[in-house]
């Protein structure tokens, strides 16, 4: 099983992420942990919701609001970064955690690289599928780039002037 980072540790990735085409062809597997695109989730929500081993992946342009009623039923939400420079996912993550109170696994997928990990973690991601051509051990150290932050974040909402 491929490796990934979850809660600051390297673990094996037991989730399978499927795209719309492969689901159109083969359907959603009967069992096993599966991450499906938002459109699939919306189409088959009633059937999938009961399973408890289905996660949803949001692409840029698909706002978390679409999951507003589902957050408590979802064990995992993935946010896709087709290119690391597209920063919409940062706001989506923050919204999921603070506006919609999502407490499950929030996973960054796609062009996920060491140098963005610290920021991704601060806005609420706790899991990272680091791009597979990169050294995951090295990527892990990206979570420790800074000990000082000025703003509040998902882990501690207090900005520095309210912490003392």
């Amino acid at each position: 099983m491929p490796e990934m980072i979850r809660d600051g540790e390297i673990v094996s990735n037991e989730w399978q992420r499927l795209d719309a085409d492969s689901i159109a062809e083969n359907g959603v597997p009967e069992s096993g942990k599966v991450i499906v695109p938002l459109a699939v989730w919306q189409a088959k929500k009633e059937a999938l919701k009961a399973r408890g081993d289905i996660g949803v992946c949001l692409d840029p342009g698909e706002e978390p609001e679409a999951l507003a009623d589902d957050v408590s039923a979802l064990p995992l939400v993935a946010i896709n970064f087709p290119a690391f420079k597209d920063g919409r996912g940062y706001s989506y993550a923050r919204e999921l955690r603070t506006r919609f109170g999502f407490t499950g696994e929030l996973r960054a997928v796609g062009d996920v690289l060491r140098d963005q990990l610290f920021y991704l973690w601060r806005v609420g991601f706790n899991a990272f599928e680091v791009r597979d051509d990169r050294d995951i051990q090295e990527a892990l150290s990206g979570l420790k780039d800074y000990t000082v932050t000025y703003q509040g974040d998902v882990h501690d909402p207090r900005p520095i002037y309210r912490r003392a």
């Binding site: 690391f84 706001s91 923050r94 000082v148």
Partner: protein
């Protein structure tokens, strides 16, 4: 000025370590060109036409003398011995080597300087009036708010990968716009609310560049505790909905225009409703702390002014400089002094290592050890006693910084242009110099009065050509350098974009074109009427006619 605490210093040192590691991985080939590009830009490092360029942040333009000395040392050790003041009050080095940048940053960090977010698609250095804190017209010192915004924006995790760059300016002067908030992505106007408390009118969607426009008021009256929550709300709307497909349509101005101010406000208010009153709310203690950093200068009571009066009466050159290059101060007995970096033959805004050191000495001697960079690419010693003005003038004259041309025609803004910048269509520095040489008679320049000529080497408008009373833009015509002229822009009160007068010109024609524009002005002006006011009264047409006759 703001005094770094231990945690601020730690943050800078962590940044140096991070960037050192990124540079190492890039040079070792484990970071791709494109990945490193985004990282180095967020650290102000461009790869330019001939060499890299490193843009060093000068928060709201304010520098301490020890920082000037370090800049001198850095320019001497790792560059060609000079630095450049940019139109966003930063300092640029034009010749550092990529592999030296981590060492340069370490040297800068030792004096609380850095290059964080001076480029890239993130929130850039916050700017303000270069006379902030001493300007008699301001309703309060805007710099504590600038520092509050600086800290909020520094490594803000949510807004590091915006659709495009993002610039914020703060202005606290009621009837003028010295910080150019009208042409910033966000402009913050300090106001008083109904109870006399500090509040903010927040503008969004202004900008120069390819599609110049002035911003719109989004927040009419934001209470001071809510400032950061309101800014965060705007940024979140922009981060989610700004255009990411076409970089020429990616600035917030395009989004505000497309949605309309009404709709943009509605989206902002929705985000704001969730943030207001939350943990981002500013506290009295924090604002008091920040204000404390900007009010501790030890001003002396005014003298009787006789020495100054005498010098003014007896020395015509000093008197001319005094009236042109010094400004009124909040405190009796003090003046703010503009150091002109626009002597003919000097590239606008350039300053050598030795000059940086000399200026640092003058700041220590005459102005509480502080100095400001201005967006017009000059420098300011903001707190000079009347009694010291004559001696300071003599010292500045010796250094070539006493050209009495502040706000006059030869006090031009020019971007580095084709001599340095990889994006340029045309050179800008030789145009500036040709104009300075053609119009070098001080009596003539003083008779002309205030006139802004702004030159950019391309559409990116780093030289703010749109808001020059006369704007000059380098364009490419079949591989040759041409210059397009605009008239009637202004960046002094409410910013306004100038109008093109017609087809563009070759470089050697430009001084003649300027001469014709000036002729029309001199023939048409009313008594004491400035160039820009004449243009607004008679319109652009007579200028066009003369130039293309």
């Amino acid at each position: 000025m703001y005094v770094y605490q231990d945690h601020d210093q730690t943050l800078l040192e962590e940044r140096v370590a991070q960037f050192r590691d990124q540079t190492r991985r890039y040079l070792a080939g484990s970071l791709s060109e494109d990945e490193f590009l985004a990282l180095r830009l967020q650290n102000g490092l461009y790869i330019q036409r001939y060499a890299p360029m490193l843009r060093i942040a000068v928060p709201y333009g304010l520098l301490a003398s020890k920082q000037l000395r370090t800049l001198a040392h850095v320019a001497r050790t790792w560059d060609k011995g000079y630095a450049h003041v940019s139109t966003r009050q930063n300092i640029q080095l034009n010749w550092p080597a990529v592999e030296d940048v981590p060492d340069i940053l370490a040297e800068l960090a030792a004096v609380q300087m850095h290059a964080i977010q001076t480029s890239g698609n993130c929130i850039r250095n916050v700017t303000t009036d270069e006379f902030a804190g001493v300007n008699p017209d301001e309703i309060e010192d805007p710099r504590p708010w600038c520092e509050i915004i600086r800290q909020w924006s520094t490594f803000n995790p949510e807004f590091a990968y915006l659709p495009r760059k993002f610039k914020i300016a703060v202005n606290a002067v009621p009837d003028a716009d010295p910080a150019l908030i009208g042409v910033h992505d966000i402009g913050v106007q300090v106001i008083r609310d109904g109870n006399g408390d500090t509040a903010f009118q927040v503008w969004a969607g202004g900008g120069l560049g390819r599609t110049p426009m002035t911003g719109q008021v989004i927040g009419e009256c934001v209470a001071w505790p809510d400032l950061l929550a309101y800014l965060e709300a705007i940024l979140r709307v922009y981060n989610k909905y700004g255009n990411r497909d076409n970089k020429y349509k990616a600035r917030i101005k395009i989004l505000v225009k497309a949605l309309g101010a009404e709709k943009f406000r509605e989206l902002t208010e929705r985000e704001f409703a969730e943030l207001q009153g939350g943990p981002m709310t500013l506290t009295d203690a924090e604002v008091t702390r920040m204000r404390g950093y900007f009010t501790d200068l030890d001003y002396q009571p005014a003298g009787d002014g006789s020495a100054l009066r005498q010098a003014l009466d007896s020395d015509k050159a000093f008197s001319r400089w005094f009236h042109t290059n010094t400004r009124a101060h909040k405190h009796d007995g003090y003046r703010a002094v503009v150091l002109s970096l626009k002597k003919t033959g000097r590239a606008p805004g350039d300053i050598s290592d030795e000059e940086l050191e000399a200026v640092a000495d003058l700041a220590d001697r005459y102005s509480f050890g502080e100095l400001r960079n201005t967006h017009q690419q000059n420098m300011v010693l903001a707190d000079v006693r009347d009694e010291d003005l004559f001696a300071l003038w003599q010292a500045l004259d010796g250094l070539g910084f006493a050209t009495p041309n502040f706000k006059l025609m030869t006090d031009m803004i020019a971007c580095p242009g084709g001599d340095f910048c990889a994006l340029a269509n045309a050179k800008s520095l030789p145009i500036a110099e040709a104009i300075q040489r053609r119009f070098d008679d001080m009596d003539f320049l003083h008779d002309l009065g205030e006139l802004d000529i702004n030159i950019s080497g391309c559409m990116n408008a780093c030289g703010h050509h749109h808001i020059g009373h006369i704007g000059i833009l380098g364009v490419d015509k079949k591989g040759r350098e041409y210059y397009q002229i605009t008239v009637g822009g202004r960046g002094d009160k409410v910013s306004k974009v100038g109008s093109k007068i017609g087809p563009s010109f070759e470089a050697d024609e430009v001084p003649d074109v300027i001469a014709k524009l000036l002729d029309v002005y001199l023939e048409s002006r009313l008594e004491n009427e400035a160039f820009i006011n004449t243009v607004e009264r008679v319109g652009v047409e007579p200028f066009k006619e003369r130039v293309y006759a």
